[in-house]
Amino acid sequence: MNPRNMAPVMDAKINDFVVKFANVNGSGSASANSMFAKAIYRMGIPVAPRNIFPSNIQGAPTWYEVRINEQGYLARRGGQVELMVSVNPQSMTEDVAEVCPGGYFFYDNTYPLDFNLIRDDIHFIGLPLTEITNTNFDNPRLQQLFKNIIYVGSLAYLIGIEFAALESIVNDTFAKKPKLIQPNIDALKLGFDEAQRQFSEPLPLQLKPSNANQGKILLEGNAACGLGAVFGGATVCAWYPITPSTSVAEGFEKYAKQFRIDSETKEHNFAVIQAEDELAAIGMVIGSNWNGARAFTATSGPGVSLMQEFLGLAYFAEVPSVLIDVQRAGPSTGMPTRTQQSDILISAYASHGDTKQVVLFPGNPKECFELTADAFDIADQLQTPVIMLTDLDLGMNEHLVDELNWDDSRQYQKGKVLNAQELDQVERFGRYNDVDGDGIPYRTIAGTHPQKGAFFTRGTSRDEYAVYTEKGEAYERNMERLNLKWQTAPQYLPKPIISTKDKSAHIGVIHFGTSAEAVREAIDMLAEQNHRINDLRVLAFPFHAEVTDFIDAHTHIFVVEQNRDAQFKTLLVNELEMDPKRLNSVLHFNGDPISARIVFDNIQAHLSTITSADVA
């Protein structure tokens, strides 16, 4: 029985609403939910699914929020949702509260609804999911799994998912287990038919096929990083399990097994090493790169903390290394399954002493793929660690991006490595000799030449010929050369992406990483209020001159970031010697991905304090 409240009926919404699923984790809901999102993608409608999950394996509440937006605004929208699919009694109170007035609360009405939960302004639509599964399936595990598939079938009727799209996904998913295809399709039909029987009309929330997804794919950032490492020529992945980065190593292994196993010998042209801790993981990466093999590790904030000492060694001894940090909420263990951009400073200045590290900021999975592949070239060319900062939202959620591409004419850039023939031409090899005046010396790999090129790599001070010395002037010369290398670095790094809407605009937004979608949408929302705003998205640190130019060209600069302490602003202020007052922070750090609404509200509130003449 469904409650007979008389909630207002909302206006029809086509391809622009949010559906949220409230599940119990470990119940198999993830594959059903991802089928839901993928079906919408295959209908050609832009879609952004996001997992909101606990640090727990089984039994705790977990959510899956799907934003559907024909115009392609795919940041988290924020606010209440139009349709809540409630399959978890534990979280029902908060789930009911999250439905917008006139919205729909879909639930399993095998059991009666707690009357205290009933709101007059929303619709309760129940279907006896448990009863249907128990009637149709004997095995308790199948009952649980198919309950999820059944609600997807019901939603197909209620909001107009094309049944063919769902069928195609079932066919693809179980291509290797064809016996499972028909039972899944039957379960979808059970849900569809039951919904049709109970509800004479579908909901006003409707999906209509579109063709907005031409040339687009749905991809997770972590898998994209793993794939990028395969394409970038990484042969060694040393890692230690930590949420939310684990699937980077898993992605690398998956694709390496696909492309890097010799078809004849079955030997592996790659090595994945699960290390004993993060210290060992980065140590292995440094050892491999020192020895001329491209190697990387993936971790999260706590791992970066542990890797600090080794990062200083790699900076000072000039050993290339690639580290992918999938950021989560800190400090300490923080919120392991919630997103943040809060490892900026610990990465940029990783280690004791005077250290500065190259940092990359991909904003979507396509950039995760590209920048991971690039990171190996950059690390080899600059002979230094490259830290790529992604985050949980980017890494563990599927995002709609352009298809990946690769230029087959591209050659790996190994930087200044001398082979035996080249060493023969060298009078006296000096590992830390700045021959070219760009701060980047030449290096050699162990075992190259019987008489030339050997040197002792160390974290202690040495002269240009790698000979140990504690002479102050030799130490200073080396540190100054490292600084010169730092000045050289930007030319090897991806430039910022500048979107100039209006050359005369006085307002500029600086952002990086996963704030991109929210910023784009917020700027469009502000444009409707006649605010003309340009934006610049940083892809790399050290900063390019374009960042300074952008700041100079605008009267009001907003820096959007997902942490409490405005770490990115600190980096701008410190490195570009900016007046801190020039930079207004838009901060978001509750662990949820940033939404357009948050960016819009912050900027609008600030602009309302300024006279219109200032911002015109």
Binding site: R260, D262, N269, L279
Partner: protein
């Protein structure tokens, strides 16, 4: 400490199979204290690598931090060296070794570097059976920071200031046996006769080889009351047998050796020959090895020599199923799947 290295060499110095004299295997002059056990070990390393006829540049010298870890500077100048961070030599060596399986990896560590800060990495590199020689230059103290007790300092041993160590010692040999090490040996820096063939056997072993070498610290731990002094070690050493390394090319003449003899087959025909074995000691029996170590410990004796070896165990390269071509030598064509592969990936993501 000397500050000049003599350059004179006897014109008829013997050469190895590469035609090189030991001079080609030397390093820069040592900056360790005069009489330091570590310098004897460096000399033994030079002898061992020279004797095996390994080109110096095909060795990678790996170390952590401490007096021991400085020593790779004092041998094999033509080899690359990596003086990494404290206690982390095993992980750096693991990475380097996986990148290029064709070099000889010589890890030099100390008791502080291994038994305290590096204990975790020591344990895990053993578990992986990484193909390397892991030398511990064990002096029971932290020399470079002026003589604090280390974790291998025996309970009851007194330090230079007369303080008695109240803590139990970590015995790296017992620990390595327990963790599944496939080559476990102990020696004394003062016994070059034993040390050189042990090193050669360890360098030939295709897997993880530990040699725990008692190497007295002349400055901070060589006094009466110390159980890691020259005198104490000489008085308490008991060899499991005489060790000879027999390269493939040499024939073994058993009749030349008195007492019980065992020949251990190593990789590609090389052998270690153990003679004068106490009580028919069998280095293939891990449990017996463990018992022998414990038995000697209880009798206040230090068992040295080749204590355990398993030449057949899979090493890390086998476990990872790596190709015979080193990973660092694979061409881009073997590494990059290319645009056509990416098309199929794109299609799978639709």
């Amino acid at each position: 400490m000397s500050f000049l290295k003599p350059s004179f060499r006897h014109p008829k110095s013997p050469t190895n199979r590469l035609g090189l004299t030991t001079r080609a295997y030397e390093g820069t002059i040592s900056t360790l204290c005069a009489g330091c056990g570590h310098d004897s070990i460096s000399a033994a390393i030079i002898q061992a690598v020279w004797g095996l006829g390994i080109p110096p540049h095909r060795v990678a010298k790996m170390s952590g931090i401490g007096c021991s870890s400085k020593s790779p500077n004092y041998f094999l100048s033509q080899a690359h060296g990596f003086n990494s961070v404290h206690g982390r030599m095993p992980s750096v060596t693991t990475g380097a070794n996986v990148a290029n399986r064709d070099l000889l990896y010589l890890g030099v560590s100390g008791d502080g570097d291994t038994a305290s800060i590096g204990m975790g990495q020591f344990a895990h590199v053993i578990r992986r059976n990484l193909n390397m020689l892991y030398l511990v230059e064990n002096n029971g103290c932290y020399g470079l920071t002026k003589g604090q007790d280390s974790a291998t300092s025996d309970e009851g041993s007194t330090n230079k200031k007369g303080r008695v160590n109240p803590y139990t010692a970590i015995d790296l040999v017992s620990l390595a046996l327990d963790l599944g090490a496939t080559f476990v040996a102990r020696s004394f820096s003062g016994d070059k006769e034993q040390l050189v063939p042990l090193m050669q056997a360890a360098m030939t072993h295709k897997g993880f080889a530990l040699i725990d070498v008692v190497s007295p610290c002349v400055t901070f731990n060589n006094h009466a009351g110390s159980t890691k002094s020259y005198d104490y070690t000489r008085e308490h050493v008991e060899a499991a047998g005489v060790v000879d390394f027999v390269p493939t090319s040499q024939e073994i003449t058993l009749d030349q050796i008195e007492g019980s003899t065992k020949v251990v087959d190593l990789h590609n025909g090389d052998k270690v020959q153990l003679s004068k074995l106490a009580n028919d000691y069998d280095p293939h029996d891990r449990r017996a090895a463990f018992d022998a170590v414990q038995d000697h410990k209880q009798r206040d004796r230090l068992l040295t020599g080749l204590i355990y070896v398993d030449p057949t165990a899979e090493n890390f390269h086998d476990i990872l199923n790596l190709p015979s071509t080193p990973l660092n030598a694979l061409a881009q064509e073997q590494l990059c799947p290319g645009e056509s592969a990416l098309k199929s990936i794109n299609n799978a993501l639709k």
